[in-house]
Amino acid sequence: MKAWIFLAIKDLSKRRRETLMVILAITIGVVGPLFTTALNNGMQNAFVGNTVDVYIGHLQIQPDTGEDFIPRSESVVSKVTGIKGIQGVAPRIIGGVAIESNTERIGIAMYGIRPSLEEKASTLSKTVERGEFLDDKDKYELLIGTSLSEMLKVDVGDTVLIQYMDRQPVRFRIKGIISTGTWELDRYGIISTYNTVKQLIEKDDATSILVRLERPDDSIMYRTIIQKETAHPNVKTWQELSAGMAGMIETFGAISLLTSAISVLVAAIAISLIIYTTVKNKIRQIGVLKAIGARGSMILKIYLVEALFIGVIGTVLGTIIGMFLISGMQQNPLIMEPEYGMKLVITPWISIRSIIAADLAILLTCILGGIYPAFMAAKTNIIKAIWSG
């Protein structure tokens, strides 16, 4: 065994309590950033992800300025469906109606969808909590959100009256209760089939067309392609449509990054302090080592190895504990369900790349934290050191 490894091990063994305490500090320093990053990712998914996946799509074709509908929307849908890289295209028609149950009557937005196209263009079909999703052949069947169903005190199988303007109210049966995590569909909207709504509100064309991409990050590129293919200028990306929410998530991300940076800094200070204190307390021993023939580089290695050892153990432990906590929360997601608010299910997640980046950052910090005191130890004046203390 090399002398410097031997001495590093012996030194750490002698100071077991202090070593364990610093390892604990590093462990916490790793758990913090991992967990907050995973939670932030989960929140991003819950807020923006839900909205994009269910409500706004990766791209949304909207009416021209001043118009309420997209002319020849069926033709636009077919042109866009044929573009390579597009996973799904679905038209939606929207109108304002009144909904009446046995207990309540309120104004609401009514969305008309093509269920078979929605299954490719959004994840709406996966949000059914009770009952069933719509079928293309359905007429006078409804999907309503969990929040709205509670407010109206209705459930699957119940009927409600839908009235458009001063037209005759029409009875609809509730086919499914959905939980999308968006205000618009869980509380302020109801959904029926495209043709049913089209007939009800007496309109022919779509109010919006949702587009789902294989690669959501290419939204800007595909916006240009769709504009060219359809000669329709008003195409919005998901980034534009969720700007407000994305901004909020960015703020959360910045806070998460700041807390992570503080954790890393604490780890560096902890390591630096313990190595510095060790060097100060062992100055005479360092002098003796140099007197009996240890080079400065050997002294440097002893203390750098100690810093690295503490860093590695702390990082490994912190990663294991962090992943355990994240996994536990994935099995039991955080559910936010305010009264009449949208239900949010926050499931934390973190990529391997982020884990590796966090671990490497902490390890590097541990080494950097140990470098200065290790360097000071290596440069110790032998005579002063031997006669110190």
Binding site: A3, K14, R295
Partner: protein, 216 residues
């Protein structure tokens, strides 16, 4: 084998010069047991530090075994100390987290040579039965014996002992000097700094220093 020519050492306390050695010429032959003696501040420890390459002279030349050690760089001096010089300090200076045998093995580990002679060295100095004890479990005299064994680990050409008996009682002091005599009889060159005349008289030669100079 050790030749010092006109060695001077000046320390600076701010702008004030403090001459510790004022031109020392000294030759020590292989196999000699030399005691450096003098009152406090005479320069004996400074001279020991020069010979042991712990410090550099302000001027003058030091040659050990024909090598001009004055011109060695820091790493070369460290290597020279490791292979050619064994140190024994006043305060024993063992590493407290290592057992007796581990303290003796340490220079061998640093030199990356076989260390199976550590136990025999502890036997040589008379504490073979304390090999696994920690320094805190040894008496002052026993600790100093471990320090001597450590100093002998790499078969040094020179054994330097700086006030090795300063922290020992009379009986232990006598035992340590007896051990030095025993080692010297086996051919080990030993330079010992002491302020105790009765111990210095047991060396082959006494070199006296006063105010940084050798005196008859």
């Amino acid at each position: 084998m050790i030749k010092l020519e006109n060695i001077k050492k000046i320390y600076y306390m701010g702008k004030v010069e403090v001459p510790a050695l004022r031109g020392v010429d000294l030759t020590i032959n292989r196999g000699e047991f030399v005691a450096l003696m003098g009152s406090s501040g005479s320069g004996k420890s400074t001279l020991m530090n020069m010979i042991g390459l712990l410090d550099s002279p302000t001027s003058g030349k030091i040659a050990i075994d024909g090598i001009d050690v004055s011109s060695l760089n820091e790493n070369q001096r460290a290597d020279f100390r490791l292979r050619k010089i064994g140190f024994i300090f006043q305060f024993f200076s063992l590493l407290m987290e290592l057992s007796s045998i581990e303290n003796v093995i340490l220079p061998m580990l640093m030199d990356e040579r076989r260390y199976d002679r550590a136990a025999s060295l502890l036997e040589l100095v008379g504490i073979g039965d304390r090999a696994m004890h920690m320094p805190s479990e040894l008496s002052g005299g026993q600790q100093q014996r471990v320090a001597i064994a450590r100093a002998l680990a790499n078969e040094p050409a020179i054994l330097l002992a700086d006030e090795p008996t300063a922290n020992l009682d009379t009986e232990s002091s006598n035992q340590i000097v007896e051990l030095f005599r025993h080692l010297n009889n086996r051919g080990q060159t030993i330079i010992m700094v002491t302020h105790e005349p009765e111990l210095g008289e047991r060396a082959d030669r006494i070199v006296r220093l006063k105010d940084g100079k050798m005196v008859p």
